[in-house]
C-alpha cells in the first residue's frame, strides 16, 4: 500500500532537510505556490475528504476556508502536537522522524488560509521531538521555506514560533492550547466562537493535528482521487494506528482508514501477547469505550465506531487479554481523568473523582449493583461538562460496564476477580 504520512520514516536521517528534499520534499509547496490559488488548495483538500486526525475528524479543507474567510488579520496556523491520550504515540513518530513533512503541510495550510503566523506546540515530555522539530524549523528558515517571500513567491510570508508544553493533557483541547500558547493556565475556552474566527490571541486560527497536516503534501501531489482510494468508502485516506497493551508487537502502522481491528491486531501486531485469548480492545485511546472480541471485524473509522457506542478517537488501539481485569482497567482510565481534569467546571472536577471512588469500591468488594446504575447517572451529569474532557471521561468506565457487565457483577456479587488482579482484602486505596 502507498504510504502518505509515514513514507519517509525508513530513510536515513529522515528528519533532516537534506533527506527530506532527496525524498521529493517541498515539491508540493512549490506546486501550490506556482499553480494554485488559496481557494484551489482548500477546495482540493475538501474534496479529498481529509479530516482531523486528532480524533474529531472535522473536514480540514473547510476549516481552512473558514479561516481564510474571516477578515481579521493576522491569521494563524497552529500545529497541535500535544498528543497525550493514553495509548497514543503516533505524533511522536512524525515529530521525531519527519518534522519537515508536517512543516510543508503547515505552509500549504498557511497559503490556503492566507495566514502569516504560526506556532508549533509540542507536549513538554517529547524531548527528542523538540530537538528535531526546532532543527527542522531552523533549516526551513535557512533554505527560504519560512520567512519572507517564501520560495520566491512575492507576498507569501510565514513566520513560525516553536513552543513546548509542560505536562497537561487538557492542553490538547484546542482552546486550552491557545491559552497555553498565550502563557496561561490550560483551561479551555467557551465555544462558540470557534477557533477559525477567534483563536490564538483572539485571531482566526487553523489548528490542525500533526498527522492531518502531514497528509496535505501528498494530496497536492497525487490528487484527491488517489487519496480517496487509499481509504474505505467515505473514510478517505490513511490513518496512523498504534498498538499497545497486551499485544505481541506494539508499534505504529499506517493503514487505510477503516482497517478492521482484527487486521490491525493480528496481521500487523502479531496477535495477543503470548497467544493468550483476547478479552477486548480500545479503539482510540483512553477516552474511547472498550469493545469485546465480537467487534473485531468492525472498521476502525469514525462512523462504524460511533454505531457501536464508542469513538474512533486517536487510533491508539489498546489490547486486553485475560490477565486484565476490566474493573481495574476502567479504574485506571478514571484515575487518568481525575488527574488531568483542569478543575475549571464542576461536572468534571467532581465527577471524575466520583468515578474513581465507585471503581475502588467495586475493586474492594464493597460495591453494590446500584453502583452500576450510579455510574450511568454520573455519566449523564458529566455530559454537562464545559469541554470534551469531562464529556468523555466517563465513557471508558460506562463502556466497560456495558461490554463487560458480568465481570463487574462478579466483583460485586461474588467478590471474585477472574483475572486475579483485585485482592479484596485491601481497604485502602490501591496504588
Amino acid at each position: 500500500m502507498e504510504l502518505v504520512v509515514t513514507k519517509n520514516f525508513g530513510n536515513p536521517q529522515s528528519w533532516t532537510l537534506e533527506s527530506y528534499r532527496k525524498a521529493g520534499g517541498y515539491q508540493a509547496l512549490e506546486k501550490v505556490l506556482n499553480e494554485m490559488t488559496p481557494e484551489d488548495v482548500s477546495e482540493l483538500v475538501k474534496e479529498s475528504g481529509l479530516s482531523g486526525r486528532g480524533g474529531a475528524f472535522f473536514p480540514t479543507g473547510l476549516k481552512w476556508q473558514f479561516v481564510r474567510s474571516d477578515p481579521k488579520t493576522p491569521r494563524y496556523v497552529v500545529i497541535n502536537g500535544d498528543e497525550s491520550e493514553p495509548g497514543t504515540y503516533v505524533n511522536r513518530y512524525s515529530l521525531e522522524l519527519d518534522p519537515h513533512l508536517m512543516l510543508e503541510g503547515m505552509l500549504i495550510a498557511a497559503y490556503a488560509c492566507n495566514a502569516t503566523l504560526g506556532y508549533v506546540y509540542i507536549r513538554g515530555e517529547y524531548g527528542l521531538a523538540h530537538e528535531r522539530t526546532q532543527a527542522a524549523i531552523r533549516e526551513a528558515y535557512e533554505a527560504g521555506y519560512l520567512g519572507q517571500n517564501i520560495m520566491g513567491k512575492e507576498g507569501f510570508s510565514f513566520e513560525v514560533t516553536f513552543r513546548r508544553g509542560a505536562g497537561a493533557y487538557i492542553v490538547g483541547e484546542e482552546t486550552a492550547l491557545f491559552n497555553s500558547l498565550e502563557g496561561k493556565r490550560g483551561n479551555p475556552r467557551y465555544k462558540p466562537p470557534f477557533p477559525t474566527n477567534v483563536g490564538v490571541w483572539g485571531l482566526p486560527t487553523a489548528i490542525n493535528n500533526v498527522e492531518t497536516l502531514s497528509a496535505a503534501p501528498a494530496i497536492i501531489e497525487n490528487g484527491t482521487e488517489w487519496f480517496q482510494n487509499l481509504g474505505h468508502g467515505e473514510a478517505t485516506g490513511t490513518k496512523m494506528y498504534c498498538l499497545s497493551g497486551r499485544v505481541a508487537k506494539p508499534g505504529v502502522h499506517e493503514l487505510p482508514l477503516g482497517t478492521t481491528a482484527r487486521e490491525l491486531i493480528y496481521d500487523y501486531g502479531g496477535g495477543v501477547l503470548d497467544g493468550r485469548p483476547l478479552k477486548g480492545f480500545k479503539p482510540g485511546g483512553a477516552s474511547s469505550a472498550a469493545l469485546g472480541p465480537e467487534h473485531l471485524d468492525a472498521a476502525l473509522e469514525p462512523r462504524s465506531m460511533a454505531a457501536l457506542g464508542t469513538i474512533m478517537g486517536t487510533g491508539g488501539v489498546v489490547v486486553y487479554d485475560d490477565t486484565v481485569c476490566m474493573v481495574d482497567a476502567a479504574y485506571r482510565d478514571a484515575l487518568f481523568f481525575e488527574e488531568e481534569s483542569c478543575g475549571f467546571c464542576i461536572p468534571c472536577r467532581e465527577g471524575a473523582p466520583n468515578l474513581v471512588q465507585i471503581c475502588e469500591r467495586i475493586m474492594h468488594g464493597q460495591g453494590t449493583l446500584d453502583d452500576l446504575d450510579l455510574l450511568e447517572d454520573l455519566g449523564a451529569s458529566m455530559m454537562a461538562s464545559f469541554c470534551g474532557l469531562g464529556q468523555f471521561a466517563h465513557q471508558p468506565v460506562r463502556g466497560a460496564v456495558r461490554a463487560f457487565r458480568d465481570e463487574f457483577e462478579a466483583h460485586i456479587r461474588d467478590r471474585h476477580c477472574e483475572a486475579g488482579v483485585c485482592q479484596f482484602a485491601n481497604n485502602g486505596r490501591l496504588a
Binding site: E85, R123, R164, A168, R185, G245, A286, A329
Partner: protein, 172 residues
C-alpha cells in the same frame, strides 16, 4: 482581615542560590518582550534552580509584567514544573493503561525499593527521584520510564535496576 498581606513568602532558596537570581534575570531578558512566554520563563527558572522558588515567581512576574498570582497559577497548573528542589535525574514512570497492564507497578516498586525512597522524594545525594505520571506517549516502549526527557523501555524490575546502575555510572 488580611493579616498576611504583604508578608514575604518563606524562601526555599539555599544560601548559595541567591546569586543565581542574576542568572535567571539574564535568561528572562530574551523572553520579556515575547508575548505568552510564561511557560518558557518558568522553564528558565527550573533550569537555573532545578525548581521554581518563590523568588523566581516574583522575578518572572516583574520582568514579564504579569500579576504574581498569574505566574503562580501557571506554575501550579503544569505537572512538569517543580516547587521544591528536584533531583538531577527525575524518573517519570508512566502509570496509565498500556504501561499499567504491561508491568509498570513492578517497575515503579523496583526503582523505589532500590533508591529507598517514595514517589516524589529526592534521594539524599540529590541525584534521583521517581514520579508516577500520566501517559508519556511511549506506549510502544511499555512499561516506559522517562529520565528527564530521555526515553527508556520496555522495562521490568531487573532492567529498571540496571537503568539506575547506568545512571549511577554516569556520575562516577
Amino acid at each position: 482581615m488580611a493579616i498576611h498581606a504583604g508578608a514575604p513568602r518563606r524562601s526555599t532558596l539555599a544560601p548559595g542560590d541567591h546569586a543565581k537570581l542574576d542568572d535567571l534575570r539574564a535568561r528572562l531578558a530574551d523572553l520579556k518582550d515575547e508575548p505568552g512566554a510564561t511557560l518558557e520563563a518558568l522553564y528558565a527558572a527550573q533550569a537555573v534552580f532545578s525548581y521554581v522558588p518563590p523568588e523566581a515567581v516574583t522575578m518572572i512576574a516583574e520582568e514579564l509584567r504579569l500579576p504574581e498570582s498569574e505566574v503562580f497559577g501557571v506554575l501550579t497548573f503544569y505537572t512538569m514544573f517543580h516547587r521544591k528542589p528536584s533531583a538531577k535525574y527525575v524518573l517519570r514512570v508512566c502509570r496509565d493503561l498500556s504501561c499499567h497492564i504491561s508491568g509498570a507497578p513492578a517497575v515503579l516498586k523496583a526503582l523505589n525499593d532500590e533508591l529507598g525512597t517514595r514517589v516524589s522524594e529526592v534521594t539524599e545525594d540529590g541525584l534521583f527521584e521517581t514520579e508516577s505520571v500520566s501517559c508519556l506517549g511511549l506506549c510502544d516502549l511499555q512499561p516506559a520510564v522517562m529520565v528527564n526527557l530521555e526515553q527508556h523501555g520496555p522495562l521490568d524490575a531487573e532492567k529498571a535496576r540496571g537503568l539506575l546502575a547506568d545512571l549511577r555510572a554516569r556520575e562516577a
